[in-house]
Assembly symmetry: C2
Homo-oligomer: 412 residues x 2
């Protein structure tokens, strides 16, 4: 396992319990020795579910499974099972069999129909999940279910890690209610707009109708997990699942016109953005947490494309790693984004220091001050492309020797 990211939070948060939710972890030896590699959450009867998944055209077997049961089901769910170390992706019919077996074994242990059991797998692609480890491990996992205490959350967030250097969790209270939203996530490489190799499992004890839950989740993912990039790569396994047990507040939120919807969306946004930022902070080899803000674009969507062109550029990312105020590379990235931009109206800031205005370096620009900003852990790049009102922010990290070390050694 790699050294702790220098951008890691000082500690894992103390996460509150979610009513109607029990958690378990277990070390089944699927790939890793001497650590938990299975995670299970069991939710109360009547729990509703929403999900978003990778846009990869080669999705993993668990993604196929979740998509199917989400589409064919009645919007309720009873469990989520996740293993780390093996992605169960590109495993053909054997992969589908392993997914079905996982749901069947947990279903038997807990007395739940398999089509209410969600699945996720993360790790190496192309290897079949070992059936003996599943047959031994899953019933043992189910036996360990316990209340969602702070300790249980810590264990859960640890069990779903692969190359992550720290566990990721976040929580928020739904304002004006006694309900919480709590989530855990994993991910540090293969992170790109469409959620990359990341998993997030989020739970609330407010009752929310499935359609409302999906609306809130899709909106929140669009401005959090879909706004981060580590290396522009997209995984076969990305999954964000949101479950609402209704065990704290059973007065169901049935529409977006419910007066509590705003507070629910705000709390969900807080949790997902926090988790998304934690994933960037654990970007493979990252030494800087970078926010790229683009304004003045033709539309918000155009601003997002330009921001990602900057945030995914290896030349920009290596300059950031070197704390080099090489803003020409930012111009290059704006130019290659393919979105309308007025070169002669372009303005650029590195942190608070304005570098360029109207297409040229500003008088009084201090490379020293820009460099000072880049020497910090948190870097902001702001670009106005001068053609409209579209704006967007994305979050990324720098590209360092650490990324190469991790990815040239991960599997072997």
């Amino acid at each position: 396992m790699s050294d702790l990211s220098p951008l890691a939070p000082s500690s894992f948060p103390e996460l509150p319990p979610v009513a109607g939710l029990r958690l378990a972890t277990h070390a089944a030896g699927i790939r890793y020795a001497k650590r938990a590699d299975l995670f299970l959450a069991e939710m109360a009867e009547g729990t509703t579910v929403a999900g978003t998944f990778t846009r990869s055209l080669c999705p993993s077997a668990p993604v196929d499974w979740c998509r199917r049961i989400l589409a064919e089901g009645d919007g309720t769910a009873r469990a989520i099972v996740c293993n780390s170390g093996n992605a169960n992706a590109f495993t053909g019919r054997a992969g589908d069999t392993a997914a079905a077996l996982t749901a069947e074994l947990i279903g038997e242990s807990l007395g739940i129909e398999p089509h209410r059991i969600y699945l996720a797998s993360t790790g190496v692609i192309g290897e079949t999940l070992p059936e003996p480890a599943l047959r031994d491990g899953l019933p043992a996992l189910a036996e360990k279910l316990a209340v969602s205490s702070a300790e249980a959350w810590t264990d859960a967030a640890g069990a779903i890690r692969t190359t992550d250097t720290f566990s990721k969790g976040a929580a928020a209270r739904v304002e004006g209610t006694a309900a919480h939203i709590v989530g855990i996530a994993k991910g540090s490489g293969m992170i790109a707009p469409d959620m990359a190799t990341m998993l997030a499992f989020v739970f609330t004890d407010l009752a929310v109708a499935p359609a409302v839950l999906q609306t809130a989740l899709s909106a929140s993912v669009a401005s959090s997990f879909n706004r981060i990039t580590v290396d522009s790569d997209t995984s076969t396994s990305d999954t964000v699942l949101l479950f609402a047990t209704g065990e704290q507040i059973d007065d169901e939120l049935t529409g977006v016109d419910d007066e509590r919807f705003g507070a629910f969306q705000a709390a969900l946004d807080t949790v997902l953005l926090d988790l998304a930022h934690q994933i960037v902070r654990d970007g493979e080899g990252a030494s800087k947490f970078v926010e790229v803000r683009v304004s003045g674009a033709e539309s918000d969507a155009a601003a997002e494309i330009i921001a990602f062109a900057i945030g995914n550029s290896p030349l920009v990312k290596t300059a950031l790693a070197a704390e080099d105020a090489n803003w020409g590379r930012i111009v290059m990235a704006v130019g290659k984004a393919g979105q309308a931009a007025d070169r002669d109206a372009l303005a650029i800031w590195i942190g608070p220091e304005q570098v360029a205005a109207e297409g040229v370096q500003v008088e009084g620009y201090s490379e020293e001050r820009a460099t000072e900003h880049l020497q910090g852990d948190e870097v902001t790049i702001t670009v106005d492309v001068g053609v409209g009102d579209g704006a967007a922010s994305i979050w990324t990290c720098d590209l360092t020797h650490g990324y190469i070390d991790i990815n040239a050694g991960y599997r072997s």
Copy 2:
């Protein structure tokens, strides 16, 4: 300057003279000390010209200049001037002034109208070209013009280098004629489909009508410079210029139905593909020359997009650097390309070793044999996505610590 790329050719080729062409280089001290940083080619009266340029929306001043004189002119040209060390990009009005001054000074020295003088600049973005160096250097450059001997070609290819670790040149005879095509190029970082930071200047002594020259050049660039990627970044300065002096063979090639057109196109393709491959071989930090072949796509264009998704993936490129047959990352890249692919019909080869067929690892796959192939300097990845007849090949290199070293230190 970085160490010589391990993929460099053993020596710079002995390039033949082109009739009607004189070359010069000069050390003007624009950025580099003690090396030539100006290149000039003067062509005979009546020379025709064709060009392709970066698709960046923030093009450099010389790109703007060339596009304008190419569009407004009569298809003839008399000179090309190039400086290295400063891209004259994102320099606002001062950049346009410097470009115009360059053409004016060379025009005065040689008695040529400025609008027949093509320009290119490569190097750092955002800094103004130093006027005194231009006023002193350009007339001195013009005085050094001499016949396009092998020595002159060697000097010319050297003068246009920036981070290149070797000079790039290629030549071919137009079969069945006494005419040659000779080209030089530069580029090693910021290399992506749309030609990235690369310059290529190509000359023939066959007479070719401007429209035919442009047709041939565009076709040839599409299958050479637009099929390579080092880091997916696109520069503000990419320029490919092709000049036909007609001084060896003045019987003009006026249409694609001319019986000599096929031989001309073939020779041009040979020269441009050779130069494109040399650029990849000088990819920043490259230790492997990688060909990615995709077949079975819905169209050739779809195959090219999938091939670039593989060739630009940092996870694939770091695995190649580590000689790790981590073919799951190839599946990931196919999945993220957004083009139709049948996961359950996917077939993958690493060199001659078939890894996967019909969506799963093949029986008898030998990781040892795949690794053996990856340990060589030249790597081939072949993917059939199983949905159609579209096919394309692209060329790229691996992603190593060397790339980070070079790009975290280039400017400062």
